[in-house]
Every structure is written in C-alpha cells, then in structure tokens.
C-alpha cells in the first residue's frame, strides 16, 4: 500500500477549490488570513498561492519561523561557546543568522567547531564518543520540543554529563494570542500549523473562538491542503461562524500525541521567553525543569538570553506580526537580500522575507 499524498497535489482539484475561494469572497474585503508555520510560508510561496488569491484577501506570515524569533543574544552566546572550544551542534538554518555581534558561521570560520545535524540524536552520539563538551541548540516549536526532551531524558539516564542544550523553544498558542491582542495586527482567521498540531491536538486552539471569535483551520502543506484551509476560513469569516477545524486528519488526532506531550512535560515547564523583534512574552516558551538543570547550557555556562534586539533598520518584528508587508521594509531587496541578509526573516530559508524575495521578488 502506498499513501495518497500525491492526491493533495492534484492541480484540477486545487483549481476548483481556488474558484470556490473567489466565489466565497464576493462582496468581502479586508480579509486577512495568517499562517504561523515556516513550512506554510514556503508552501504558499512555492506554489504561488498569494498571487492567485482574489482581491480583498491577504495571506500573511506570522511568527512561525523558529530561527527568525530566536534572540540575537542566543546566537551570540552559541557562537561564543564554539569559540571557547565547546562543540556546538545545530539545525542548519541557524548557522547564517546574525546575532548582535557575531554568528555561528563566523565562529566556525574562526576555528570553532559548529556541526550541522538533522536531529538532536547526532549531538548525543558525539557526546558519547568524545570527552569534550557538546551543546545542542534547542530551538523550534511544539513539533521539535519532544525530540529534545527525549534526548535530555536519555542523556540523564545514560549519565552523559558532557551534553547540554541551549533552550529557546517557543509555543504557538501564546503567539496567536499576541497577534489578536494587538489591534494593529489582529487577523480574520488563522491557518494553523499542521505539524505542531500533531503534538498538541485541537483543544489548545479553542480560545481563538471562545475569546476572540476568530476561526482557525489546521491544515497540511500540499496545495490542496492549504487551499481547502483558506476556503474553509473564508466561508467561516463570511458567515460569521468561527470554529476551529481540523482538515489535516491524516496525521492530526483530536488529542494530539499524548506520549510526546508527556515527555515534554517531564523535562520542560512553561516559561516567559524573548521573541526576536517582538519582545518578552509571558509563558510563551519552555525551560528545563529543576530535575534536568544539569543539562541546561545557559546555567552551565552562565548565559543570559534576555534581550531581543534586531539589526538597525530591520523591521522583522513588524513583518512577523502582520503589521507590515516584507516589501514595505526600507531594507528589503536593497540592504537585505537572501544572498546578503540583514534580518532574521531574510536569513532563514523559511523566513517571510526570504520566501517573498525568492518566489515573488517583492
């Protein structure tokens, strides 16, 4: 048996859904739909969906790119660790992001050991093989946190005392609340992140309807998934009947993944955290519980992650909150391009500015 993912790339079906979006938008204006997942940003860019939308319907990219919202102080601290002889293991996206003073790329060029890996498991393997100190850069949303939690728990069970994680995990529901609490940002509906939802399930989004009367659709990442999500949102906006719908049922269960959440809850607890360009948001991130403090790189190396400055002139914070289109930033396309990026939203391949520049040139 194979899986029917290809069906979700069916051009004819996609075109029919698009037609229905145009029909449903008749007479509507000022509909702002926001996705909060870098993979959705990429899908909308790659499939050219923004340009296909009817007038009056804007697709915005929210604060869903973990690399973009990781504080500059975190990048600088990680680069300093590498310069000081610690082996720093990271997801690849982080390497080029500028901090305030330096970047991992610079640290590596200066002889620091920065290893790119697709999984935290690689860092744990190095810590097993070698006596030196190994730090994994633990960034990402609810999708990634269970993998880090499982690795930290395994490290404790195995007594891997040369392994630690520098934590800057972020949570999606507080980010949605942040958007809706700001009248300049508030949107008409959310395209909710499919893979985050495989972990957290449907219930954590109920507040969108209960407190903000705004609809949300949990959507997958193929063209048919994204278009069907948009169509459903437009109808709910038009009819004034907000709900949270799960249209990615092939991997998102109503209850999410309780085993994954149990590992996260064992190792991490909610904490205030700094979002780059946005500021400190109450209980919007994770930190290691006291039982696991020995694996906290910030504690081990005396690192303070409490600032969130952006490079001069960079408006990523406004772009990520839907206050500004990427092209309206004075740096976009001139002082800030994918080849020579200034801000984090242009550095990350799934950043709002990078995707817009690559696929739409504006």
């Amino acid at each position: 048996m194979s899986i029917p993912e290809n069906g979700y790339r069916d051009n004819e079906l996609a075109r029919r859904i698009l037609d229905r979006i145009h029909t449903a938008m008749a007479g509507l204006d000022g509909v702002r739909l926001m996705e909060v997942c870098g993979t959705h940003t990429m899908a909308i860019g790659r499939f050219g969906l923004r340009a296909a939308m009817p007038d009056g319907l804007d697709l915005l990219s929210g604060p869903g790119c973990p690399v973009c919202v990781t504080p500059g102080s975190y990048i600088d601290a990680a680069a300093r660790l590498a310069a000081d002889g610690v082996t720093v293991v990271t997801f690849g996206d982080m390497v080029r992001v500028p901090g305030k003073e330096t970047s991992l790329e610079s640290a590596r060029a200066a002889g620091g050991r920065v290893i790119v890996a697709g999984s935290v498991t690689a860092a744990l393997d190095i810590a097993h093989r070698e006596p030196g100190e190994v730090v994994f850069l633990a960034v990402g949303f609810e999708t990634t946190a269970p993998t880090i939690a499982a690795a930290v728990r395994a490290a404790r069970a195995e007594g891997s005392d040369n392994f630690s994680v520098l934590v800057s995990h972020k949570l999606v529901p507080p980010a949605l609340r942040l958007i809706q609490d700001d009248p300049e940002c508030a949107v008409s509906g959310f395209i909710l992140p499919g893979h985050v939802s495989t972990i957290i399930g449907v219930a954590p989004y109920a507040f969108l309807v209960d407190e903000y009367s705004v609809p949300g659709v949990i959507a997958g990442f193929e063209p048919v998934d994204v278009l069907a999500g948009i169509e459903s949102l437009v109808r709910m906006v038009r009819d004034g009947e907000p709900a949270v719908r799960n249209e990615y049922r092939r991997v998102v269960r109503r209850e999410g993944n309780p085993a994954a959440r149990a590992v996260v809850d064992e190792v991490f607890e909610p904490a205030d955290t700094a979002w780059r360009g946005i500021g400190r948001v109450p209980l919007s991130g994770l930190r290691l519980r006291p039982d696991y403090a020995a694996f906290d790189a910030a504690r081990r190396y005396g690192i303070d992650l409490d600032e969130y400055e952006l490079p001069a002139g960079c408006r990523c914070g406004d772009v990520m909150r839907g206050r500004m289109e990427p092209a309206d930033c004075p740096l976009f396309g001139d002082a800030c391009t994918p080849d020579s990026p200034t801000g984090p939203c242009m550095v990350s391949v799934e950043g709002a500015c990078s995707v817009r520049h690559k696929y739409e040139g504006k």
Binding site: M1, I3, P4, E5, G7, Y8, L13, R16, I17, D19, R20, T23, C37, G38, T39, C65, P66, V67, F91, D93, G118, S119, V120, T121, A122, V139, G140, F141, T143, T144, P146, T147, A150, A154, P193, H195, V196, T198, I199, V224, A228, E247, R249, R250, V251, V252, R253, N257, A259, A260, V263, E350
Partner: protein
C-alpha cells in the same frame, strides 16, 4: 523547521529503528510513538517518528474534498 515527512517503518528495536522515506532508509527514534509497528506509516521530524500517518483517513479526506468541490466550473 517543523518540516516533517511521511515514511514507512522498516524495523524497530526498542526505541530505535529505521523508516523508508521516499526510498531512503532513515534512522529514526520511536520514543514518542511507542505503539508503532513495522509496516506502519509515520510522520518523521528531526529524526523522530512524531505521529502515525493514517492512510485510510488520507483517502477519506481526499474523497470528501473531491465530492465537496466537484462541478464548480
């Protein structure tokens, strides 16, 4: 960064195993998907199987979408 890909479980030994992702054999951790069996489809993220992929539900959703959006020329 939350990019995740579907694949078919080849083998599992404890919490470690392998998944066939588009013809490539990928080392995968099953700590957070303890009920998965060889032959099951899973979603793989950052070296971990994070959820089962329900192929029947995938067909059912697609069928429903095709019915909902037919004949809108």
């Amino acid at each position: 960064m939350c990019l995740s890909v579907p694949g078919k479980v080849i083998e599992i030994d404890g919490t470690k195993g392998t998944v066939d992702v588009a013809g490539n054999t990928v080392e995968t951790d099953f700590t957070v998907t303890p009920d998965v069996q060889p032959g099951d489809w899973v979603l793989v993220h950052a070296g971990f199987a994070i959820q089962q992929y329900d192929a029947d539900e995938a067909e059912a959703t697609l069928r429903m979408l095709r019915e909902a959006f037919e004949g809108t020329e």
